[in-house]
């Protein structure tokens, strides 16, 4: 029998720093809710709005798989591995922090607000050599389809990480129905609604709502509005 937890948009942690308006799905920085620590190995889901030209100066990370998905605008990234890059909406960036890496991330545009999702997963192996990757995604491939954008496999046509996790993005027409099969036994799915309204396993979810589902091998999905967009994170439930 599948189990689930609903995460409504207005129950997320919120921090407005002026230049940064952040919503935290799980405890992060000064937002601490013991009931919202993680969903399996998914530890952080931050939905950040960053003003033009603003951002995070050089800061360190270790032992975390960090995935960044810009929804609008572009990120200017620079790190201690020598990478200097711009990541635009429609692209995905991953960084395995491993033994330690320092990076900065800024809104690359002076006058357009940047909206990004930053996701942190606990790694399946500690102290790996830090690595960086980014990939442009074929956004047409997610029309009425869960397009796989991340996996544990370097051979797959997507970015990869040190964790048995698979991410998929889909954009759907109204009334489109489908099913998503969980990739690995023991994994659960955290479904985050980027836009529109959808029904997942009988639960109606609106923009920025989420549902975590586990103890099942599939989920049912229906788009209730046009241009419903959803990010699925298929992650191990055991830490």
């Amino acid at each position: 029998m599948s189990q689930f937890i609903l995460y409504k948009e207005n129950t997320r942690g919120h921090a407005n720093h002026g230049w940064l308006d952040a919503h935290h799905s799980f405890s992060f920085a000064n937002y601490y809710n013991p009931e919202r620590m993680h969903f399996g190995v998914l530890r952080v889901l931050n939905d950040d709005l960053i003003d033009g030209g603003m951002g995070f100066g050089a800061h360190p990370h270790d032992n975390m798989e960090i995935i960044t998905i810009p929804l609008a605008g572009a990120i200017a990234h620079k790190d201690s591995m020598g990478n200097t890059a711009e990541i635009k909406a429609g692209e995905i960036q991953v960084m395995s922090a491993g033994t330690g890496v320092s990076h900065s991330e800024f809104n690359a545009l002076p006058d357009v607000q940047l909206n990004l999702l930053q996701i942190w997963l606990f790694p399946n192996k500690k102290n790996v050599t830090p690595r960086y990757d980014q990939r442009a995604l074929d956004v047409t491939a997610r029309h009425n389809n869960f397009q796989q954008i991340l996996s544990p496999n370097s051979e797959d046509d997507n970015v990869w990480i040190h964790q048995d996790a698979w991410f998929s993005l889909g954009k759907f027409d109204e009334s489109f129905e489908t099913e998503y099969k969980i990739k690995k036994a023991g994994n659960g799915v955290y479904a985050f609604v980027i836009s529109g309204e959808v029904t997942i396993n009988g639960q109606i979810l609106s923009k920025r709502d989420a549902i975590g589902i586990w103890d099942t091998d599939h989920i049912s999905f229906k788009a209730n509005t046009a241009d419903a967009e959803v990010l699925l994170m298929d992650v191990p439930m055991e830490l």
Binding site: D62, N63, G100
Partner: protein
């Protein structure tokens, strides 16, 4: 009451940041070191309420260090710090102390 937190991590830059973050809160006192020898010395000589294991400590060293620390003062919580910065720090410490 101030909580004394001992952080051990191999990366000097991250250790400096952790020292700044831990000591930025008046309720915490952070002592941050890079080597196991320094950690054992601090643990022997000072009151420590919580130990955070940071980056770059391999499994063998981690086990050996835990055994040493537990032998000196049994019952002090030793937890893994993930992320290397402020994002998860408060939650990790609050959870460990609750």
């Amino acid at each position: 009451m101030q909580t004394t937190i001992l952080y051990i991590g191999r990366d000097t830059e991250i250790t400096i940041v952790m020292n700044r973050l831990l000591n930025a809160r008046p309720e915490w006192k952070g002592i941050c070191v890079c080597t196991d020898e320094e950690a054992v010395s601090v643990f022997k000589e000072q009151t420590v309420d919580l130990v955070l294991l940071g980056n770059g400590i391999d499994q063998e060293c981690e086990q050996a260090l835990k055994l040493k620390l537990e032998a000196i003062k049994p019952g002090i919580k030793i937890i893994q710090h993930y992320g290397g910065g402020s994002g998860l720090l408060y939650g990790e410490i609050m959870t460990a102390l609750s």
